[in-house]
């Protein structure tokens, strides 16, 4: 599930946020990909739309996350919703 979410995140990074496809890997942090707070907010909106993962108000602390770390967080957010 985490792999699927990572693929979704990378698709959003490349298609919507115009990150170079070669740089958009699981190890890269969002800050390293030059995502500012607006770009991270966009990523959150798109992740909710495309994967149903609601990351809520956590945008401000996400810059240091890697892409794979964000995917894990999204998985946790989804399972949390399902549990609740």
């Amino acid at each position: 599930m985490s792999e699927n979410l990572q693929a979704t995140i990378i698709k959003i990074l490349v298609e919507d946020l115009e990150v170079d496809a070669e740089q958009a890997t699981g190890d890269a942090t969002l800050a390293e990909l030059d995502l500012d707070s607006l770009a991270i907010a966009e990523l959150v909106v798109r992740l909710k739309e495309e994967a149903g993962a609601d990351l809520g108000e956590e945008e401000s602390s996400m810059g240091s996350l890697t892409v794979s770390g964000l995917a894990d967080l999204a998985v946790a957010a989804k399972s949390g919703e399902q549990a609740a």
């Binding site: 919507d16 115009e18 607006l38 966009e42 909106v45």
Partner: protein, 404 residues
């Protein structure tokens, strides 16, 4: 106050006829009927519209440009072209002495309409944080400034269908007052959007002829305008600066005049007094007499009302009957871009000694007898000075006097 003409040292353009000034100039000289973009859903049923064909990173490189509202994308492409032609290198210029003036009528109407759809479907949380950065009406100017390191004034002038011409006039003034040494002026709009087209259709402003020859400026059988879109940009500099660096010289902006009808929200004043005053102010600004004008590039929207008022005004101000053309026959009406598009095409006319035909107009409105409208095919002429008129909703009138 400094005086002297502003020299145009670079130009760029995106229209329904293609990317680049050459593409559009060629279509206009031929009086070609544009077919629009195949496979695009009908924007308003039974209405002929002329969108710009989609383009990618090969035309507009750079991260963060792909999803900007098209009005910003068109402006960026036109400005890139104009700066490249001018020979300026924005990486090395003193950006504090450079300004940008963008004329735009609508701003990001398509982006806002799409966001409204997402709001209705998914609530506020579904709305992208990029809605405003990608659509606010001053974001063309702001984005151009970021792309080229322009840190002097960035103005956006909103004067409906006169916006593009007003932008060039304001840019000229920024040179004349000494506020800037280089000014990029641009007109842009991306109005081929269903809700925009529907609004114009509801007013009765769009042609009801669903045919490739629906735009027929000054024709007896005209029925309204054809909605289109695009952008055009110019780089303006003072004469002495352009000469000093041996810059390309595409022509000059000699004068401009802006007036307001103060009459009706959308109808021009029936006697055309406001528009006439704009033309006379522009001539006075250029220190020319009406008889000096060799050519008029008319606003000529193909609406029954505009063309009658404007045609009469041209006959009144220019009794020596200079040849007249209206580029909207080919290009349709690109709203806030039109004044800049037509200014650049007028400069091409002056440079080439050619008045292009008014496409699709077979017989001129009999009420406008005396108007020397060039129809059918282009006409060679010795041209030194030309006037380009732009008249917008809100009673906004602007005339430019252009020279070789």
């Amino acid at each position: 106050m400094r005086t002297g003409a502003a020299v145009v040292t670079g130009a760029g353009m995106v229209t329904a006829a293609g990317i680049g000034v050459d593409e559009t100039w060629k279509a206009v000289r031929e009086g070609r009927s544009l077919t629009g973009v195949p496979d695009r859903p009908a924007d308003v049923p039974e209405r002929h519209c002329l969108p710009v064909a989609p383009f990618g990173k090969d035309v507009l490189p750079g991260r963060g440009t792909a999803h900007l509202d098209p009005f910003i994308r068109y402006a960026l492409v036109a400005v890139d072209q104009a700066l490249a032609e001018s020979g300026h290198d924005p990486r090395s210029w003193d950006g504090r002495r450079v300004g940008v003036v963008v004329g735009c009528g609508l701003g990001g109407a398509g982006t806002m309409a799409a966001a409204q759809g997402r709001l209705l479907d998914g609530g506020a949380a579904a709305v992208s944080p990029y809605v405003h950065p990608r659509s606010l009406i001053n974001m063309a100017a702001g984005t151009v400034a970021i792309r080229h390191g322009i840190t002097g004034p960035s103005h956006t002038v909103v004067a409906a269908c006169a916006s593009g011409a007003v932008a060039i006039g304001v840019a000229r003034d920024l040179l004349r007052t000494g506020a800037c040494d280089i000014v990029v002026a641009c007109g842009t709009d991306a109005g081929v959007v269903p809700v925009v087209a529907a609004g114009f259709a509801a007013m009765g402003a769009l042609s009801d002829a669903d045919a490739l020859d629906a735009s027929r400026p000054f024709a007896a059988d005209r029925s309204g305008f054809v909605l289109s879109e695009g952008a055009a940009a110019v780089v303006l500099e003072r004469e002495e600066d352009a000469r000093r660096r041996d810059a390309p010289r595409l022509g000059s902006v000699l004068g401009h005049g802006c007036t307001t009808d103060a009459h009706h929200p959308v109808q021009p004043h029936p006697d055309g007094a406001g528009a006439e005053a704009a033309v006379r102010e522009a001539l006075a600004d250029a220190r020319l007499d009406a008889r000096d004008v060799d050519h008029v590039n008319a606003h000529g929207t193909s609406t029954p009302y505009n063309d009658r008022v404007e045609g009469r005004l041209i006959n009144r101000v220019f009794p020596h009957r200079p040849p007249v053309t209206a580029n909207k026959g080919v290009l349709g009406h690109s709203l806030g871009a039109a004044g800049a598009v037509e200014a650049v095409l007028t400069l091409r006319s002056l440079g080439a000694g050619v008045v292009p035909p008014t496409a699709h107009t077979r017989s001129v409105d009999p009420e406008l007898s005396g108007l020397d409208l060039v129809t059918g095919r282009e006409r060679a002429a010795d041209l030194r000075y030309a006037v380009s008129t732009s008249l917008g909703f809100g009673g906004a009138n602007c005339a430019l006097v252009l020279g070789t």
